[in-house]
């Protein structure tokens, strides 16, 4: 079942187009990694979904409710952290959770204890938040976003400030939640960080969705990266495609399948280029993805 459906979302501020025709979907049990560099429009998209910013045109439905018409119903099963987990610094962790919980109907004391344990904050929950580290505030934010038993969880850069241990437990938590038929949207500027989290990836650049596909498709990519050392890279320039990059005067990288690389090396030899070294490396998920998207620089 589709939980979140974003269609043709456009956002203009003044004359500047921040978002151009952004469309994607999240279904039950899906974890979508929303990837893009800073300023690509990730946070703006998320804010439009949550009704924090008004869209210029387009349509967003959550659980079948249009957010511009039925905001209260649409938002009631959503948990979120936007930008950073901004809570009331002068209150303790528990006071913050209680405060947020009291704005929902029927959040019991057991449920509050449950989410605190879930994010592993039980030891410091009575400390003032101003004394928390960013990682602890992320955990607190996640606890708050889980208070209303959401079926759509939107986390904007949740790995910020988390230590490896924290990232690991966040992954376990999200995988567990996705098995409970929750849809999750996580944004990051770094896909490699989210590789192990997600089962769907969506890349946004300059306000446009470049590519949306499942993680399996990407993993099926056979291309590898070859780092080649030659006498002078100037001589190879004309032989390269736009996927390939020159590192310095001797090293360059090409992305090819096994069959292609043999032909490519033959071509180099024919052009009288001296080859000192050819090293094969597996593509990271991000590189594979960019490759799939046609080599656009993200």
């Amino acid at each position: 079942m589709t939980i979140l459906k974003v269609s043709n979302l456009c956002k203009k501020i003044g004359k500047k187009e921040i978002l151009k025709d952004v469309s994607f979907e999240i279904n039950e049990g899906e974890i979508l990694a929303f990837i893009g560099p800073n300023g690509a429009g990730k946070t703006t998209t998320i804010k439009c979904i949550l009704g924090l910013q008004k869209m210029t045109s387009g349509n967003i439905t959550i659980n079948g409710f249009d957010i511009s018409k039925d905001f209260v119903k649409a938002i009631s099963k959503v948990g979120c952290i936007v930008e950073s987990p901004d809570v009331y610094m002068y209150l303790t962790g528990l006071e913050n959770i209680r405060l947020q919980a009291s704005l929902y109907d029927n959040v019991t004391e057991e449920e509050i204890e449950h989410v605190i344990k879930l994010v592993g904050l039980d030891a410091r929950i009575n400390t003032q938040v101003s004394k928390y580290s960013l990682g602890m505030r992320q955990r607190l934010g996640i606890a708050i976003s889980l208070l209303n038993n959401p079926n759509l969880l939107i986390l904007d850069e949740p790995t910020n400030g988390l230590d490896p241990e924290g990232i690991k437990s966040l992954r376990e938590l999200l995988l567990k939640l996705s098995r409970q038929k929750i849809g999750i949207l996580i944004s990051s500027h770094n896909l490699s960080e989210l590789e192990s989290f997600c089962n769907k990836v969506c890349i946004i650049s300059e306000g446009k969705i470049i590519k949306e596909s499942s993680i399996e498709t990407i993993k099926q990519v056979n291309d590898s990266k070859y780092i080649i050392k030659v006498d002078d890279t100037k001589k190879v320039e004309k032989l390269l495609t736009e996927k390939d990059t020159i590192k310095d005067s001797q090293y360059f990288e090409v992305i090819k399948e096994e069959q292609e690389i043999a032909q490519f090396i033959t071509k180099l030899v024919k052009n009288d280029i001296k080859i000192y070294e050819v090293r094969k490396e597996n593509l990271t998920l991000e590189e594979a993805f960019i490759n799939l998207a046609g080599g656009q620089n993200v």
Binding site: L52, K54, K73, V78, C80, D86, Y88, E95, L103
Partner: protein
């Protein structure tokens, strides 16, 4: 809605700035009480005269010169009186020395040095000793009885109406003084009231029976009438209403003394309740809760509207505790007396304080709403607080200007309408507006700022950091 308001209250009352301001208020309250305590500490402090200086001056005077001689006698009198005052230092004694001993002493030195009728001196000395004995025993009743017999003697004569009325009143005052045992103590409110009546009564009857009063005389007559009425009330009800050094006096001035603090609370709360959430980013959690934006804004507005009366109540309780500890509570039974157009109006002290505070509500509402609007539109706490205070200051300046310059445009400004304190004293608006007109003007301003706030808040984007 109720849940939202509850969380808003938690946010306000746990905030440090709120606690700090409240702490400062308690200190401010304590100092205000101490100032009231120091207003009169019970005894009269006349500036001490330097007797030696007068003696040196006297030595230099040329006694053959009539002017110098007069100065010499006057100095001798002052020296003698100062010595008596040092010897008999009770308030009543001082009064008796000033009013009954001074003429005799003055007479003594005049007789001795100017008229030089030495045969009378023994008589006068005897008189001085007699009065001094009476003063030493604080036997003020003697002087009152003397006065009574003097007035009675006068009243048997053929007198003009003003003079007759005057003696009748003076006689009544003296009899009252004896019956109620009121010594000539200038720190005693009943003595002061009696004394004030005795002073004013001559002028009052002169003006009353005079025809064709000039404008100034008419104003003077109205003023004296008012003073007499109030003093009469004090005597009849034994109400110490002019005492400025008790809990009642502070409560009576509560709305003015603590006006600034109430204003600080109003502007601080309404100027930060929206913008703080935007500045700290906490608005994101709030706006993604299942409530309409208008509901969230309304709950914030209601929170301020509920918090301010609670805070004022807190201020009153703190004042009652601090003031009660310093002054005791006995003065609270004394009413507040207001004279208006020939009538005495009395209020219970708590009613009066409450009404004064209520009459300030339009000012707080307008300034609070302005702070609330700026806080929402500009998302800046400092701008909201600064601009609201500036509006308050400019408002006061314009209200003062409007008393001098009668520009038409002024009558549309809320500053001429927002002060309703004249209703408490049963007076009229200083600019001649009817209360209903003022209420409508204030209402229109409130509506305008609130609409502006709601429209902006509905549309406002939470900007990316």
């Amino acid at each position: 809605m109720f849940k939202l308001i509850k969380t808003e209250f938690i946010k306000i009352f746990k905030k440090k700035s709120f606690l700090v301001v409240s702490l400062i208020f308690i200190l401010y309250c304590l100092f205000t009480n101490l100032i009231y305590l120091s207003i009169n500490s019970g005894t009269l402090n006349d500036p001490a005269l330097d007797i030696q200086e007068l003696e040196i001056e006297n030595n230099k005077l040329n006694l053959s010169n009539p002017d110098d001689l007069n100065q010499y006698v006057s100095n001798l009198t002052t020296i003698a009186l100062t010595k008596y005052t040092e010897k008999y230092s009770h308030n009543t004694q001082k009064y008796l020395i000033e009013h009954y001993l001074k003429p005799v002493i003055s007479n003594y030195y005049e007789t001795k040095y100017i008229t030089k009728e030495t045969k009378n001196l023994a008589n006068i000395e005897e008189e001085i000793t007699k009065i001094e004995n009476l003063i030493a025993k604080e036997n003020w009743e003697y002087f009152t009885n003397e006065n009574i017999s003097h007035y009675q003697k006068e009243l048997q004569k053929e007198l003009s109406l003003p003079v007759k009325s005057r003696y009748e009143t003076l006689l009544k005052i003296a009899e009252y003084r004896l019956q109620n045992n009121i010594p000539y103590d200038e720190t005693h409110y009943l003595h002061n009231a009696l004394n004030d009546i005795a002073t004013d009564i001559t002028e009052y009857y002169n003006l009353k029976y005079q025809e064709n009063l000039t404008k100034e005389e008419q104003a003077r007559y109205t003023y004296i009438t008012k003073e007499l009425q109030i003093n009469k009330y004090i005597i009849e009800h034994k109400a110490d209403i002019h005492n400025n050094s008790n809990l009642r006096a502070i409560l009576k001035n509560f709305a003015q003394e603590f006006d600034l603090f109430i204003l600080i609370y109003v502007i601080m709360l309404s100027g930060s309740i929206v913008s703080e959430e935007f500045n700290k980013g906490t608005i994101k959690f709030l706006l993604t809760k299942p409530y309409k934006r208008s509901t969230i804004l309304t709950s914030k507005l209601l929170t301020v509207l509920l918090a301010i009366p609670l805070i004022v109540l807190f201020m009153l309780i703190i004042e009652l505790i601090i003031g009660g500890l310093i002054f005791g509570f006995s003065s609270l039974s004394v009413p507040v007396v207001i004279y208006n157009a020939g009538h005495i109006i009395t209020y219970n002290i708590f009613t009066y304080t409450g009404l004064s505070l209520l009459s300030n509500i339009p000012i707080y509402l307008i300034l609070g709403t302005i702070a609330f609007a700026i806080s929402t539109i500009m998302a800046s706490t400092s701008a909201a607080i600064t601009i609201s205070f500036l509006v308050y200051l400019i408002g006061n300046v314009i209200a003062n200007l409007a008393q001098v310059y009668k520009f038409k445009i002024f009558k549309y400004l809320v500053f001429l309408h927002w002060d309703f304190s004249y209703l408490v004293t049963k007076g009229t608006n200083p600019f001649g507006f009817k209360p209903l007109t003022s209420i409508i003007v204030v209402g229109i301003y409130l509506l305008f700022f609130l609409c502006l706030t709601y429209i902006y808040f509905q549309k406002k984007d939470v900007k990316n950091v």
